[in-house]
């Protein structure tokens, strides 16, 4: 029982939870404003991780400096995806159900393409960097610098995003779009602009999560999918458009995963993640919108 209550585990759970919260926040923006089921979300995380890896191993550039670049790059990809594929798709598909199903298949195709392009370009073998691995001790808990950085930056960005969404005009417009697209357009929200900004922001957060992860995790072209799954769990548990709920759900998932592994075995990690995912969907079969769709 001692190990279960140790600060060490608590710290690990907080770190992984913060990353889940960050990726979930990105997916929440994309799904909420456009009803696009971005199953390639985790692949954007992967691309961010590779950017940090190459900048570090080729140019000795710190992953922390790579982070803003990854955000910009991922945001650019988001803009491309919107202009190239999804603007037309969103505007010509009035039925939300159809749009969701189509976007899922489209993103699935895109995901396979990205993963295999990355595998061709970077080889499928996993890689890792060692950065900021100085150990700090605090109240009997050993923390490496990189994990502290992940936790600090993720929490900071989550809080900043939540504040921006709550108090800025853009934030209000995004929330309006999440609640009702037609009504938002009627009251003067520039739907296209808000959608493209949300997609760029969502992708950017995923890219950021990738650069942070590159400091502690092994990276490979196929590392992304668990993060997509985690992000889906986060928005289903936290509630669509409920950013605070999503952030809490991210931490909760981190706790379930870390403590689940401690209580069973390290092999059980994927079983726990997918088990939670399946369980959450079975308990909320009406989907991410919860009961709201019935009233529509």
């Amino acid at each position: 029982m001692d190990t279960v209550l140790s600060g060490q585990l608590l710290f690990s759970a907080l770190v992984i939870g913060a990353v889940y919260a960050l990726t979930g926040l990105g997916l929440n923006l994309v799904y909420g404003t456009m009803r696009l089921l971005n199953i390639a979300h985790g692949d954007v995380v992967m691309l961010g991780a590779y950017l940090a890896f190459w900048l570090f191993s080729l140019g000795q550039i710190s992953p922390l400096l790579a982070a803003p670049l990854a955000v910009l790059g991922a945001a650019g990809l988001g803009a491309l995806a919107y202009l190239g594929l999804f603007r037309r798709q969103i505007e010509t598909t009035p039925a939300v159900e159809k749009l969701e199903a189509n976007s899922l298949l489209l993103f699935f195709g895109i995901s396979v393409v990205i993963q295999n392009l990355a595998s061709l370009a970077f080889t499928p073998s996993p890689r890792a960097v060692t950065y900021l691995d100085t150990i700090y001790r605090l109240g009997g808990v050993s923390m490496t610098g990189n994990r502290l950085a992940i936790l600090g930056i993720s929490v900071l960005i989550c809080v900043a995003t939540a504040l921006v969404l709550r108090y800025s005009v853009y934030g209000l417009a995004i929330k309006a779009l999440i609640q009702n697209r037609e009504a938002a357009a009627v009251v003067g929200v520039n739907v296209r602009r808000v959608q493209i900004v949300s997609l760029m922001l969502g992708f950017g957060l995923a890219g950021l999560a990738g650069t942070l992860l590159s400091m502690t995790e092994q990276i490979s072209p196929f590392m992304g999918f668990p993060f997509t799954i985690a992000a889906f769990v986060v928005i289903i548990m936290g509630g669509l458009g409920n950013l605070v709920g999503g952030i809490l759900a991210g931490f909760l998932l981190g706790f379930v995963e870390i403590y689940g592994v401690v209580l069973t075995s390290s092999n059980a990690r994927s079983i726990i993640l997918y088990g939670v995912f399946v369980g959450v969907l079975l308990l909320r079969p009406q989907g991410l919108l919860g009961g709201r769709r019935i009233s529509q």
């Binding site: 969701e100 199903a101 895109i110 799954i229 997918y274």
Partner: protein, 303 residues
């Protein structure tokens, strides 16, 4: 009259296909085995996902369970028991998870099926790891010819099953569910029961196909028989071919098997890149698939 034409045609094609092992070499026989397997998988998939519109992105779970079943019982029970047992296990699994899983609709059903397939994969990996084996060796597997003939029978059975279901009460009910589930229920379609039946019917043959194809190689690795690429290929085949017609999966499977023969051995990543791109293009521009392209023209000729 037209149906008789198709039945005779299919009979002739079947007889020709069964004679293949004595006409062509081992390489082409392996290609034919692949083709028969993908036809069996894609036709089965359409029973749930084409007719009822519940797109399964985790069909590999049935394939993998069937394969695992045959591997575990290998040399303990004869093959003609083991392969149907694989189908039975897949069918039972579908029956057990069917009712709760099929309550989940639309895109959530799609990602749920994917999640279930991954979950089962990791559970089987853990079971295998706890028994101390990373992979198993299979001794005395049947010849390619035998496997091909079994697979051909499965492909024919799957095509026949899809054809029969499509023309049955069950099939009409499933199409009604796809068009509007609430309306179907109002008109008295036993929605849940039909969906579960379709799920089971769509699962059994993939279970047997997995059990057969796993004997193609002499070792068994869990990640290979539960590879999500298999689910992805099935969906892409059905979408490229079109799943509203028994010819759709035939076309889609043939197209992708040829493509895979050209690319897989040299550049597997390129094959998957092409597959992903095709999926995007067909969803965007040709939602009816290749058969959808054929459809209107055929009607015009008839007129």
């Amino acid at each position: 009259m037209k149906a008789a034409f198709w039945v005779i045609g299919a009979g002739l094609a079947g007889a020709g296909a069964a004679g293949l092992p004595w006409l062509i070499g081992d390489y082409y026989l392996t290609v034919a085995l692949n083709l028969a397997m993908w036809i069996a998988l894609a036709q089965s998939w359409t029973i749930l996902s084409g007719m009822a519109g519940y797109i399964s992105l985790g069909h590999v779970v049935f394939y993998g369970l069937g394969a695992y079943c045959v591997v575990v019982t290998w040399q303990a029970v004869p093959l003609f028991v083991a392969i149907p047992l694989g189908g039975l296990v897949a069918g039972i699994f579908a029956a057990v998870i069917g009712a709760p899983v099929l309550r989940v609709r639309g895109p959530y059903f799609v990602i749920l099926t994917f999640g279930i397939a991954e979950l089962v994969k990791y559970i089987v990996i853990n079971i295998e790891a706890s028994s101390g084996q990373a992979s198993r060796l299979l001794f005395g597997t049947p010849s390619v010819t035998d496997l091909y003939l079994i697979m051909l029978a499965l492909a024919a059975a799957a095509t026949g099953l899809a054809w029969t279901v499509r023309r049955s009460r069950l099939g009409s009910g499933l199409v009604a569910i796809r068009e509007d589930e609430e309306a179907a229920q109002t008109f008295g379609v036993p929605v849940t029961r039909f969906k579960v039946y379709a799920f089971i019917l769509a699962a059994v043959i993939p279970g047997m196909a997995g059990g057969t194809f796993v004997l193609r190689s002499t070792y068994f690795e869990t990640t290979q028989v539960f590879d999500p690429v298999i689910s992805f290929s099935i969906v892409t085949m059905a979408i490229i071919g079109g799943s509203d017609d028994a010819r759709g999966p035939l076309l889609g499977a043939t197209f992708l098997v040829v493509l895979s023969e050209l690319l897989w051995s040299t550049l597997p990543q390129l094959y998957l890149i092409v597959l992903g791109t095709l999926l995007v293009v067909f969803v965007l521009f040709l939602p009816g698939g290749l058969v959808g392209l054929l459809g209107p023209n055929r009607h015009r000729l008839v007129r």
